[in-house]
Symmetry: C2
Subunit: 436 residues, 2 copies
């Protein structure tokens, strides 16, 4: 949600409100419920998923208010009846939310969010929570694979132009959590403090009468540390001109087309011959984690990643769902519930989650307790943190915390987790029932 | 951009502003330029693309202002120097924009937007224009294929939960342009007037003690015309209960899992036996254009489409680019310019576009004039409309206009355009040079 927008309440499916209406009428709306947000499987047959968007979820819940303008729209379009509008006017989430900290990795069935409250208050958050977590986690998961492929080389997020303008801001944030060094997106800089970077485009070179004029203009204005784009016309000539203009202190050159492996080698050789041994080579041009891996042996100093980052590298949504797993029965006690339909079965009951670690601290399993906390085998790590208590946000995690959490969680995974090929989750998900 | 957000100016790549700085310093910033927004190819080997987002672009340009808070951020983070900040403070696009009307179909090379102004004012719009058009057009293109596959049956957009919360609103808008009947997204209803629809989810059934209780609650509150979800437990039993509760006037049932073709037949037969001959069957569950086509012979009355719609059905971005094609030279005359790099070559010069139609009104070619309007063969249709003149929006097209334009443009295409398989564009793109 963009800043300045005072309500997130209508970023919601119509049926959340008609269900609310029917349940208010039947009285069931006030039953205490537990909803769980999780992924049935890792989309794209990835080895692990990355949780991103938790901070945005907490902001969005705070802004989930039905102001007079939202109520007026719902009344005018007759989406729901007057008793429902009355409920919505006073709406404020008063329940509790536990979840995975942002940056944490997840596996099939991991209880990424556990939302406890009345049916009414928890149900109508469904669409918004899923929108944020499905989008941001898909981007962060792709980003994490790219970071693995890039090893120590920095990755810059530059995909804003290939995704919705506000999704671009969230993508930059998610990529940063997964280890990207910076973004091209200025709003991500303002809104979230992600470092922003950028130099120039082909249009800048074409604007000037000669490539040399363009390079002189850029170096004069932005300094010798700038990165010059050298593939508008002839790369070899451009590199020569670039070093003539900026001297061997030239910060970097960018390659945005052609055979990047061969070209990086030629350019590195040429730069070294010209004495520009510290000038960095940044490559861009439709990179994804596979292209980055293929460039591992090339003399490249950084990667700019656009389209494939913001589109989740073939998997633009994380496939998470939000399911009722427990509700109050007639007698006031909680009843586990689950849908039985083929291929979409859920596991009922409130969940707990731990990551089982072996004696060397390597992850072995995602252990999910149903109805109670699983036993700790000694090294196990609790995964759920308290995010909202009685409607108040209690999490104080920052974006840097999320970045650190992500790095630590990936480091803990077995080596097979870093494979780029399709396959099984890096660790199995194990359910521990409270009836054991 | 969400309403209430007063500026879109930072939804922009860092380098747009550093290029601005360097060109202001060199003086080249004030050269009159022509930028063109187009797609080099149809992503996903589709037969045609659909232009969506033009209305959002016009709103976004209006809101592209650097207010004191944007300037403060840029100053604090030292993105650009003081002369550049001074330019940005007074920024207002004063140029002209021609483009394809929203809903129009496009082909490789179609000049979807032509932006004329100084380098400074046209360059810095790049990121935002591409974000909007790449996203919205990808969704509309997928949506149009689904509408073709669905033939006369209505499609409901319900993918909000599987994409960024604000991209969801834009997706609903794009789907509506391409012929979707309605959306689940309430904000799309408020912001753009798209009709919204919705009934209930599995959680609503699970909330109640029995499925019958849930159906009674829904029918009592929402009326017999409502659509009941019948696959939470056993479909056959649910359908029987549904008709018992609502009577044969039951509006509809929804199937969200399993073998939809077989299940739709069984449910139709059962409904007919129960006398509910007018009760509609809506199917959902991971539909895309191929699944919809496969359901053509099944007794289905409507399709709810989610994930694949909002993710462009495998093609989440349209791959459009924004290129400088002409700029003022030293002598004040316009000079055509184009990048020469391998695989990314552009065609320089200001473009004009017409759709060549045969005597029966069937499209034969996308004819693009370079530097001048191509000759009209008699039936040809001009494609470019004036959108912005001297910085003022002159287009008055509504969403319904876009919907009508889309329907008419698709109707004009040869039958091969409606093929779902990968292949060549339905019509070729032909360039007519002014030197002919």
């Amino acid at each position: 949600m963009a800043p300045g927008t005072a309500s997130t309440a209508l970023l919601t499916d119509h049926y959340e409100l008609t269900m609310l209406q029917a349940s208010l009428a039947s009285g069931a709306a006030h039953r205490r419920c537990v909803f769980e947000l999780f992924a049935r499987r890792l989309t794209g047959d990835r080895r692990y998923g990355v949780v991103a968007g938790i901070g945005r979820v907490l902001d969005a819940i705070r802004d989930f208010r039905f102001r007079p303008e939202e109520i007026a729209f719902l009344r005018e379009t007759q989406v729901v009846d007057e008793p429902t509008l009355e409920y919505l006017e006073g709406y404020r989430f008063t329940g509790s939310i536990w979840g995975y900290p942002e940056g944490e990795v997840y596996f099939p069935g991991s209880p990424i969010l556990i939302v406890e409250g009345t049916f009414a208050e928890a149900c109508i958050l469904e669409t918004l929570l899923l929108s944020i977590l499905n989008h941001d986690s898909a981007v962060a998961t792709a980003a994490s694979r790219m970071i693995n492929a890039a090893e120590e080389r920095p990755c810059i997020e530059m995909g804003s132009r290939r995704t919705h303008e506000d999704a671009a801001v969230a993508s930059a944030r998610a990529a940063y959590i997964a280890g990207f060094a910076s973004t091209s997106n200025l709003e991500a800089g303002r809104r979230y403090g992600v470092p922003t970077r950028g130099t120039s485009a082909h249009s800048f070179t074409l604007l000037h009468d000669t490539e040399r004029d363009a390079f002189v203009a850029q170096v004069d204005s932005l300094g010798k540390g700038t990165t010059l784009l050298v593939d508008t016309y002839d790369v070899r000539e451009a590199v020569r001109t670039a070093v003539e203009v900026a001297g061997p202190e030239l910060g970097g050159v960018r390659l945005d087309s052609g055979d990047l492996v061969a070209q990086a080698r030629e350019v590195r050789e040429q730069l070294d011959e010209l004495g520009a041994t510290t000038t960095r080579i940044t490559v861009t041009s439709d990179l994804d984690e596979f292209a980055i891996a293929a460039l591992a042996a090339a003399p490249v100093d950084g990667y700019g990643v656009g389209t494939s980052l913001v589109t989740g590298s073939g998997v633009p949504t994380a496939g998470m769902v939000y399911k009722l797993v427990s509700r109050e029965g007639d007698d006031g006690a909680q009843v586990s519930v689950a849908k039985k339909a083929l291929n979409k079965a859920s596991v009922g009951g409130r969940k707990y989650a731990m990551r089982r670690l072996d004696e060397r601290g390597v992850a072995e399993a995602e252990v999910i307790g149903i109805g109670e906390q699983p036993d700790n085998d000694g090294n196990d790590r609790n995964l759920l943190v308290e995010l909202v208590r009685g409607g108040e946000v209690v999490s104080t995690a920052t974006l840097d915390d999320a970045r650190a959490r992500h790095e630590a969680s990936v480091a803990e995974l077995p080596a097979r987790a870093r494979r780029l090929s399709r396959g099984e989750p890096a660790i199995p998900t194990v359910y521990e029932d409270d009836e054991k």
